[in-house]
């Protein structure tokens, strides 16, 4: 079998599966948490509205459902932020995400066309930034890394820019 033919050589190659992933910034968890609060607190308050208007006790079930849903989704999202990891090697960047359906993307620096650092209002509050990498052949972002400390994002961008002649934008 032709594939096995290469097995020897492959064993000597650096294995991307064995990369040590570095977790996201500690602030990231807090950012995700406050994001969830921003979404669910108004939703919870709003869900009391039917009860306030109609004064029927069974309508209190709605806020209970919203609360449970919020706790469930919120904890899931926070846990998801916990498993994300990033790793830089000499020639590429690896990013892992997904709580159950795990996904690992590896992107070689010499295929990066364009790097972008952005941060929203909430991210700025926590000193965080999103790093986006673009390659050819896709119109969308090829690798999007949330939850990096602003300086870390800038540092990675500078590192990647130093590795290849790519365009950057902010």
């Amino acid at each position: 079998m032709a594939f096995v033919n290469l097995q020897l050589a492959i064993d000597d190659l650096p294995a991307a599966a064995e990369i040590e992933m570095e977790p996201m910034s500690a602030e990231y968890r807090r950012e995700v948490l406050s994001q969830q609060f921003i979404i669910w607190i108004p939703a919870l308050l709003g869900s009391f509205l039917p009860f306030v208007l109609a004064q029927r006790y069974f309508l209190l079930a709605i806020p209970v459902i919203v609360l449970l849903l919020g706790l469930f989704i919120g904890s899931l999202v926070v846990r998801m932020s916990g498993v994300k990891g990033i790793a830089l090697r000499e020639h590429d960047i690896a990013y892992r995400s997904g709580l159950y359906w795990r996904k690992t993307v590896v992107l070689a620096f010499n295929r990066v066309q364009h790097v972008e650092v952005s941060s929203g209002p909430l991210q700025r509050k926590f000193g965080l930034a999103t790093l986006k990498f673009f390659t050819a052949g896709g119109s969308s972002v090829d690798l999007k890394v949330d939850g990096l400390a602003r300086e870390r994002a800038e540092q990675i961008r500078a590192y990647v820019l130093g590795k290849s002649d790519v365009a950057d934008s902010e």
Binding site: A16, W101, R102, V106, A136, G138
Partner: protein, 513 residues
């Protein structure tokens, strides 16, 4: 913005280009407004005389607007060449200025449609994938200007860092690689729309083909038929319309292959593929001659397609894929289209081997042994997600609401689906030989993508909890031209392929574009 900058020599295309703009507008109108046209035609057929003349007047107005718009579009369209870039200003309402670096140009083709031929004019299309989905068409410039422009652009397309390569470039001695007879092209014509006949015959779709083109044509044909049906219904009895439908069905079955053969002959008659240094040139066409060129290093992947009809004739069609912006191939959007693929039609098996190693040097197609994916998981996922839900829904409703005997459909449908899944599993395979990766999909025919490992853009590995237990994973390979997905493969192989691809990508400075 209309002021011309000093030192910039803006040029217009020939006034004949107005016809080109008109054709474009008409094509866009037909593409976007087909349903509207059907409605209008139907309305026209059933309208009273006074209303008919109203519709006629509106049509006349639309034509006048179209002509005026085309003239304006021609007036607004100006281009110039400064150093290593081409600047284009265009647009009537939505004005646009485009500047394209020669280095970014993927593909240049020269066409001579029937309406510019008598004037000795040509259309030059510049495909600029990689910088947004833009194609520049200079409609109506002198043929020799077009040829020399192409030569300049191609010579500057990429400063070649390899000395050996540039030497080869200068000796530019065109040598013929392949020519196709009318018979070959007719066979190609038969092979292109096989799926199309199948759709009509079975009315179902299964497998891993690139259907979109066929589906689009099928829809177009269907709409035209509806139009005819409504016409027939307008004039008379049920029987006559039933007869018309039956007749049309039969005619479609016989006519469609004929139409695609004629279409292929028009487009590809007298096909000649030659190489000039490192540049492939393809020349074909019955009335309009098409002249396309492609540099060897622009090839991102070679796709070998052999469907059922092609198998009967033992022929294969090859597509050379180049980088394309926003293919959205993984989202299953419309394919890159003929512009970003370079066709080599109706090849005999030995020609396939020879040409593959011509396009991809040192590629040993013959030595490929494909590894298979995990059958159990693949079948379980296909059955559980794609087959069972619709089958259960349909048989369930039919059994409960119409007749319990419909329950017999269930084992029949599932059995057929199982056979089909097994068949597509047999065809699905991957391999690595030397510096090249191979991924094959298929159902009755096959579609094999061969790509240089070092041109891979990005690799993803995905694993579900179940796959982690079984040691399986999905591998996604993103090329600049399109994406390939190998599902349910052993995670060991997925990791090995990823490491190998990354090694090839990272250990070389060879530019991928």
């Amino acid at each position: 913005m209309t002021n011309t900058d000093p030192g910039v020599n803006w040029q217009r295309t020939s006034p004949v280009a107005v016809v080109f703009f008109l054709f474009n507008a008409a094509r866009q109108f037909v593409n976007n407004g087909l349903p509207a046209i059907v409605v209008i035609l139907a309305a026209y057929a059933s309208a009273s005389d006074s209303n008919q003349s109203l519709i006629q007047a509106a049509l006349l107005l639309a034509i006048i607007i179209g002509i005026l718009g085309s003239v304006l579009a021609w007036l607004r369209f100006r281009f110039c060449i400064i150093d290593d870039r081409i600047l284009v200003r265009s647009g009537v309402l939505h004005r646009e200025e485009l500047s394209v670096d020669f280095k970014r140009i993927q593909n240049i083709s020269i066409r001579e449609p029937f309406y510019t031929r008598p004037f000795g004019l040509a259309l030059l299309s510049i495909d600029t994938a990689g910088s947004g989905k833009k194609e520049i068409v200079l409609g109506g410039i002198k043929k020799d200007v077009a040829v020399s422009l192409r030569k300049t652009i191609l010579s500057k397309a990429r400063p070649i860092d390899d000395n050996a390569e540039s030497e080869q470039d200068t000796q530019a001695d065109p040598s013929l690689l392949l020519s196709r007879s009318g018979k070959d092209i007719a066979i190609y014509g038969l092979t292109i729309n096989f799926i199309f006949w199948l759709l009509i015959a079975i009315g179902a779709v299964f497998g891993a083909y690139d259907f979109s083109e066929e589906v689009f044509m099928w829809l177009a044909a269907k709409i035209q038929i509806q139009d005819l049906i409504s016409f027939a219904q307008g004039d008379g009895s049920l029987i006559s319309s039933a007869l018309i439908i039956l007749g049309l069905g039969l005619a479609m079955f016989l006519l469609l292959p004929l139409i695609s053969v004629i279409g292929a002959l028009f487009r590809h008659y007298g096909y000649r593929l030659s190489i000039e240094g490192e540049t492939y040139r393809k020349n074909s066409g019955l009335l309009s001659r098409h002249d396309e060129s492609l540099k060897r290093h622009k090839i991102q992947a070679v796709v070998l397609k052999q469907n059922f009809v092609a198998r009967l004739f033992n022929r294969t069609n090859i597509q050379l894929r180049v980088a394309s912006a926003g293919t959205g191939a993984d989202q299953g959007q419309l394919p890159t289209g003929p512009k970003s693929t370079f066709l080599v039609p109706a090849l005999h098996p030995e020609e396939v081997m020879d040409l593959t190693s011509e396009f991809l040097p040192a590629c040993e197609m013959g030595k490929t042994k494909f590894s298979r994916i995990n059958l159990r998981r693949f079948a379980a996922f296909k059955l559980g997600l794609a087959v069972l839900p619709p089958v259960l829904l349909v048989t369930g409703t039919l059994t409960l609401l119409v007749n319990w005997k419909f329950a017999a459909m269930l084992p029949l449908a599932v059995g057929t689906a199982c056979a089909a899944i097994y068949r597509s599993w047999q065809k699905l395979g991957y391999a690595v030989v030397g510096e090249y990766g191979f991924v094959r999909y298929g159902f009755i025919g096959t579609k094999t993508t061969v790509f240089p490992l070092f041109k891979v853009q990005r690799v993803d590995i995905r694993q579900s909890p179940g796959q982690r237990r079984k040691g399986l994973a999905h591998l996604n390979i993103h090329l600049a031209s399109h994406s390939l997905k190998i599902p349910h493969m052993p995670v060991k192989h997925a990791n090995a392929m990823r490491d190998l691809m990354l090694f090839h990508v990272e250990s070389t400075d060879r530019p991928w574009y």
